[in-house]
Each structure stands twice: as C-alpha cells, then as structure tokens.
C-alpha cells in the first residue's frame, strides 16, 4: 500500500528549526514502522537519522512519537497506524538530530536511584532465598527496557526537565519491593525530593505508552503509598 511518512527533520549543522518532510513509499501492512523508516533511509534520503538495534521490541532504542503517541518503531505495524504516518522524536528530550534525542539526563536520573541490589549482610552460601510470592510483588517492574517512552509521554516531565521521571521511579520500585534488597531508605530519600515522585500528577500517559505493558502508574502509586504509610 502507498504510505505517506511525515517526518520531523532537524540537522543541527544546517537547520535553525525543526521542520516536517514528507516521503511517499510503498509498504506492506505487516511491515513495521522501522521497516518504513529504513526504506526512506536506504532508497530515498540517506541523511535520515534514527536509533535502532534489535528491531524486535526488546532493546528500546527506537522509541519515538508515531502519530502523536510514544511507541517503539519496530513494534508498530504500518497497517495498524494507517496511510498517513507522522513521526517525530519524543518530547521532553533535547533533539540531537532528526529522531535521535539526548538520553543522557534520562540515564543520570536512572542511576541516581541506585539500580542495583543493596544488601549489607554477607552473601549466603547458596542464593539469597526469595519465595515466588515475594517475586510476584515486583515482577512487572523488572521488565523495563529503558526506552524512555514513559518519561517522554509525561506532561510533568515535559514542563520540568528536572523531574526524575516515571522510568526512574519504576526501576526504583523494582528494588524497593524486592525482599532481598535493604536499600529502600536511600532510594526513598532520592524520590522524596521536590523533583521526585510527587511531581507525578497521575496523568496515566506512561502506562499507555509503555511497550512492555508495565503498569507504570500503579507502580508509582504503590511507591507513594509506601512513603506515606512508613512516615
């Protein structure tokens, strides 16, 4: 089928402002948006720049705004999106070039919540035992692939670049609710700052955008409750 791709282009060496450029290509309805982007890059305009790696929805490199919503380009099918596809980089991040955004502040916020197991006891001879029920509690939040789709869909994240963002909170949740971890206090101290978890306004865009179907809003609400009940 004939598809029109309207892509937001920005070359920092040439352009002052980002602008849209349209491309007409032939695409199969079962192609992914990433395939369409590759068609443009290989056959129409080699200067088009975007991140991609695994191309099947697990690395999180190609999160972008597709028809106004944050999605992974390698997961969305052309047939599901339609004949007119608007592709833009994610909001809330500095655009480096075309669809590539600066993810460094995002990773800094991720690192600030100490995304590693903190346990002050000596390691036991076998593994640190964890029952299936204990594992179930934080099972959903282990799935984060750090694609940035949630943070890029969050209005408080757009307006306040210092807001720690849903992704960092989800990864903090993964450890705070892990029965083997003893570092909750340190992580909660990070999250209770003025730009921490309470900037969340329960908008719910994050849960909608997550390609791994993590219930982000639910995880954030659980963190808020934990902070309230432990005060």
């Amino acid at each position: 089928m004939q598809v029109t791709l309207k892509i937001l282009r920005f070359d920092p060496e040439k352009d002052k402002k980002a602008h849209f450029k349209s491309y007409e290509i032939e695409a199969d309805p079962l192609d992914r948006i990433l395939d369409a982007l590759n068609t443009v890059k290989w056959y129409k305009d080699g200067t088009l720049t975007f991140r991609r790696s695994c191309a099947h929805g697990v690395c999180g490199s190609d999160a972008m705004r597709i028809n106004g919503r944050n999605r992974l380009a390698c997961k969305e099918l052309v047939g599901d999106i339609g004949k007119k596809i608007t592709i833009e980089p994610m909001l809330g991040f500095r655009i480096l070039k075309d669809l590539v955004v600066d993810m460094e502040p995002f990773f800094e916020k991720y690192r600030s919540i100490k995304p590693y197991l903190i346990n002050y006891e000596d390691p036991p001879a076998t593994e640190r035992f964890q029952s299936a029920e204990d594992r179930e509690i934080f099972d959903e939040t282990t799935k984060c692939i750090l694609c940035g789709a949630c943070s890029g869909s969050c209005p408080p994240f757009w307006s306040n670049s210092e807001f720690i963002g849903p992704a960092a909170i989800v990864n903090a949740h993964r450890f705070i609710f892990d029965s083997r971890d003893q570092g909750s206090d340190e992580r909660i101290a990070v999250l209770s700052q003025s730009e921490g978890v309470f900037r969340c306004r329960t908008v719910y865009n994050c849960t909608d955008a997550c390609p791994r179907e993590i219930p982000v809003t639910k995880a954030i609400e659980q963190i808020k409750r934990v902070m309230l009940y432990n005060r």
């Binding site: 060496e13 502040p105 800094e108 600030s112 306040n160 101290a189 990070v190 700052q193 900037r199 309230l228």
Partner: protein, 152 residues
C-alpha cells in the same frame, strides 16, 4: 595515492554545561525530605473536607437560594449564627490553602530558574496570606450594630 577520508565537520552539538542535580547529589546520603509527601497528603485531606464544605456552600448559595435573594440582610442573618460563621471561616481557610498549594505545584512545574522560583513563591505566599487575613477579618469581626462607613 592513499584514500583520503574527508575531514569530519565540526559538530554543532554542544555539551550541556549545567550539571544535573541528580549527579551532583546522588552519592551522599541525605535526610528524607517529607515536605512534598505532606503537601501531597494535605491535598487529599483538604480535598475531602472541601467536598463537604464547598459543595454544601454551593448548594445553599446557588441552588436552595440564589443571587436574587443574597444581599446584606441575608448575610447578616447567616452570620448571626456562630455555626455558619465557623463554617465559612473553615471553608475560607481550606479552600485558600488547597488552592495555594496547587499554584505552588504549578510554579514548581513551570519555573525552574532558582531566582524566579523564589520570587514567584514569595508573591504566592504574600497574596495568599493577605487574602486569608482580610477574609478572616470580615467573618470574625462582622458586627451589624457597629457604625460602618458614612452613608454614600
């Protein structure tokens, strides 16, 4: 002749010079700051109370009565009862603080520069406390028997 690689153009990208608060403060342990937590909790508590107070006020003023009957005498009769006076005072206090806290979150969301943030929050506190005071003053000190301003 050896293959010449074209010289890479100087990139127009600039490293952001401002160091993020998350790298600056990530390492050392800090006391848990509960201000945001209490503010969040205050919204919920005052909100639930306001459900009762504000909706009662709405129903009494706009549904049971309406602006046709509200005048000085109406207010005088209402404030003859200490129950309604206390009610109005509590409503004023709850509504203004709930609203002020809301504007505070707006400022935190949209104003990041430290100087402007302090300025805006200060204006907010000054305006808020001023209106709280004049509102409370008229409710508490209202006395229909005292001489008011000279007749126009």
């Amino acid at each position: 002749m050896a293959i010449q690689t074209p010289e890479r153009p100087k990139t127009a990208l600039k490293e952001p010079t401002k160091r993020s608060r998350w790298t600056r403060t990530g390492a050392r342990p800090r006391p848990t700051n509960a201000f945001e937590l209490y503010s969040w909790y205050f919204f919920r508590v005052s909100g639930i109370l306001l459900l009762v107070f504000a909706l009662t006020h709405l129903v009494v003023m706009h549904l049971i009565n309406n602006v046709e009957v509200i005048n000085y005498d109406f207010v005088r009769q209402r404030w003859a009862s200490p129950l309604w006076r206390t009610f109005d005072l509590l409503l004023l206090f709850l509504a203004l603080t709930h609203g002020m806290n809301g504007v505070r979150t707006l400022i935190y969301d949209y104003v990041q520069s430290k100087g402007w943030r302090v300025f805006n929050i200060s204006v907010l506190y000054i305006v808020g406390i001023f209106f709280l005071l004049i509102g409370a003053q008229v409710i508490i000190t209202f006395n229909p028997n005292l001489p008011s301003l000279p007749a126009k």
